[in-house]
Amino acid sequence: MKKNNFIGFIVMLSLLFILAACGSDSNDNASGSNDSDENDAGSEEDSEQESEEVDYPTKPIEIVVPWAAGGSSDQTARALAEAISANIDQDVTVTNREGAGGTIATAEVAQTQPDAHTILLDAVGVFTTQPHLKDVQYSIDDFQAITGLTYEPIVLAVNGDSEWDTLDDLIAEKDKGTQISYGHSGAGGLPDLAQAGFFDQAGIEAESIAYEGQNPAVSALLGGHVDTIAAHPGSIMQHVESGDIKILGIFSPERFDELPDVPTFEEKGYPIDMSVWKFLLVSQETPDDVKNKLTEIVEEAMGSDQYQQFLEDANLTPMDLDGDEVVERLQENNEQHGEIIENMGLSAE
């Protein structure tokens, strides 16, 4: 029995060690939030020059992703983390903090105001649609933007066997009394709003069918359970090439480089601008010199061959915006999206 005890103890111990190793990989929430105190030394030199002397980063950097592992946000964060850690002495980790359309993680960062070693990756809808749909405990004023990251347009697609070959065919349904079912990745999401806005403006009677995520919506379209969906082109290009899905139009102001033949809705007289774009945020309390240093580090990483190769492989278009432009554009989008949500009667107020 003594011997058994010993073996048992060793088994437990080794299991715990394995766990500890796994744990440190994903959540490095090490304490010590006052590391950046010394940055307060207020010299008034040119920020470019000064940022060379800023003592940042002093500990591992954590990128918080408000969505699950494996999605395009997560992949972007991981590719970026790898590119950043190649240039600095500290590790860069990615933490997935999923839930409630990205609002939980965003609210958490807004409330705790961590130092610049915690970076939040966020997408446009978190600031432009969610606040209209429900009460949220954050606003863009809680953050400073570092840079824009990626841009994914939204397109309207139909089944390959559909009788509509062009956007004009679909618009022509106006007075025929046709009832259309449109699928999308979730109520209040941009693909939902884009289609709701279009069918409303085009005077076509349409019913919204919400799926949980883009993939179920795509399979519903493939199976013929809905008439149209709105989705990102990257995930449906395969089916477009095989002829199972047709893309009718794109919800962007300009045509998309990779889909030169697909008309915009604006061209047809429906000025709807909806695309998902992502960006990096840090706490509002981050001192300017630290923020500049971080921006420099991130921009260097984004310019690396490694990261550029990732964007190409993952079918993502870079979003070339600096921090101030991110905030400006968010405010623009916020007004437009808020208006559509109000028209749909989904508004929380």
Partner: protein, 497 residues
């Protein structure tokens, strides 16, 4: 075509492939066996490591982790009555009963054989009939999903134990719990009481750990001070394994087929497959009374059911580019990072790689058999750990596991609440497994029900005019009414006598 297959077969056996599979399966066993760490989590954690590998190598590592993890869940389910993953919840009832009878090694072995057989079965299905199955899977629209969920809910009858009424109450309670959070159709929050965290809903993993692991820890700790003199020596004694396997072959084949079928439909998952298989095995068994009290057949069914899913979930992923669950979503991410977009085109552009992946899946299962053989001896020793050392360790694992799901302490609190439910409810005869079933199936039933009525614009006939939906609804009807019919006919017979 033939040439491609021969080439892929050669590629699979490359030494680095074998090594990566070995490590993947090994890590999978550990992730699956530890309560709270799931195959999904393991695959997600492994993803960044695979970025530097070649596409096939990356997939081998992830598949090893996936299959190993799905089997590994049964180890802790059998030994310490805490399913390592939701997929093994159906294994708990019989597995732990067998372990208590000193047949832990037999149970572990049966679970291994059933898992490996089902894994290979679904791997072959992937290889041979993937395009046909994926076409059928696309037929599953909202009405079909709803009918499937209803059929699944009728399983409450077979896992409720002695008291059907209390089982139904717990099932409904589980479905209620699943409505907390953001309404999947309308996007409004329900039962969140303004709490930010509750808006995210109740996560399945912390609920599972609470219901099964925490409650068991509380139960065990009440008697931890009693030194048990009994020596657990039976773990090594195992019946001739080949004979045992043959005895349950029919159940295993049937369950593998059920698992493969369920797995090929995106959005279902191994938990549903294992419950369905368990239910079917019990229905067709001659020894129904053994189920829940230590039936080898039950273990074989549940484990073949959940591992049958592993190969089949790759069907929609590889043929359509649509991941059916979180694990395959991560795999999709891995392939995308390699510059490969799975889908109809990939079979034409990289056919050799596709076949290498399919053969790799079968190889993963063979590796699982070899490793499992040794792992069982090692894991069976857990039974020898004195309770006063085992429980604190387990408790730590539970907290880490539920925290790690979403990196939040809130989930640990959820776990504790469900731990209390799991501890108290059985004291009053309310079984917890139906509650888990409710949490798993509730969201599918609700979402698809509302989607179906949106599609049909409120016309209820959609559930009976769609043939697949009609079949499942009829099956549910039969499944519910069968016990009553039997009861009545028994009564008649006894009156005549």
């Amino acid at each position: 075509m033939g040439e491609i297959i021969v080439n892929s077969l050669g590629d699979v056996f490359a030494l680095n492939n074998l090594l990566v599979i070995f490590l993947g399966v090994f890590a999978g066993f550990i992730f699956g066996a530890l309560p709270g760490l799931t195959a999904t989590m393991g695959v997600a954690l492994m993803l960044p490591i695979t970025y530097g590998m070649s596409p096939t190598l990356a997939m081998m590592a992830l598949l090893g982790m996936y299959c190993g993890g799905t089997y590994g869940g049964s180890i802790s389910a059998i030994l310490i009555r805490t399913p390592g993953t939701p997929a093994s919840a159906a294994t708990v009832m019989d597995g732990y009963a067998l372990a208590e009878q000193g047949k832990a090694a037999d149970a572990l072995r049966m679970s291994l054989y059933a898992s490996v057989f089902a894994g290979i079965f679904s791997g072959l299905a992937l290889l041979l009939i993937a395009p046909q199955l994926s076409k059928f899977a696309l037929e599953f629209g909202p009405a079909e999903f709803f009918a499937l969920a209803v059929f699944g809910l009728t399983m409450i009858a077979s896992i409720s134990g002695d008291n059907l009424r209390k089982g139904v109450i717990m099932g409904i309670f589980g479905m209620f719990v699943s409505t907390i959070g953001i309404d999947p159709i309308g996007g409004l929050s329900r039962f969140s009481f303004g709490n930010d965290e509750l808006i995210g809903g109740v996560n399945l993993i912390p609920a599972l750990i609470g219901l099964f692991a925490i409650s068991e820890i509380i139960n065990k700790s009440r008697t931890a001070h009693i030194q048990s003199k009994e020596e657990v020596s039976h773990v090594k004694k195992a019946a001739s394994s080949a004979a045992a396997f043959m005895k349950h072959l029919k159940t295993i084949v049937k369950s593998s087929a059920i698992g493969t079928f369920i797995g090929s439909i995106p959005g279902t998952g191994p938990a549903i497959a294992s419950f369905l298989s368990y239910n079917e095995a019990k229905r067709s068994s001659k020894h129904k009374e053994e189920f829940g009290k230590g039936s080898m057949d039950g273990i074989a069914a549940a484990e073949a059911g959940n591992n049958g899913v592993t190969g089949a979930t790759l069907i929609p992923l590889l043929t359509l580019g649509i991941p059916g669950d979180t694990v395959t979503a991560v795999m999709l991410g891995a392939l995308m990072m390699q510059g490969l977009a799975p889908g109809p085109q990939l079979f034409q552009t990289s056919a050799d790689m596709m076949y290498t992946i399919m053969f790799g899946l079968i190889l993963v299962n063979i590796m699982m058999l070899l490793q499992g053989f040794f792992a069982i001896r090692f894991f069976a020793k857990i039974k020898n750990i004195p309770v006063n050392m085992l429980l604190p360790g387990l408790l730590i694992l539970c907290f880490i596991g539920s925290f790690a799901v979403n990196n939040t302490v809130f989930d640990a609190k959820i776990m504790l609440v469900f731990g209390l439910i799991g501890y108290i409810a059985p004291k009053f005869g309310f079984p917890v497994t139906p509650m888990l079933l409710g949490i798993v199936l509730g969201p599918i039933a609700e979402t698809s029900f509302r989607q179906a009525l949106s599609v049909s614009r409120g016309d209820w006939m959609i559930f009976v005019t769609e043939p697949i939906s009609l079949v499942f609804l009829l099956l549910s009807l039969v499944s519910i009414s069968l016990p009553f019919i039997k009861f009545l006919s028994n009564k008649k017979r006894s009156q005549k006598a």
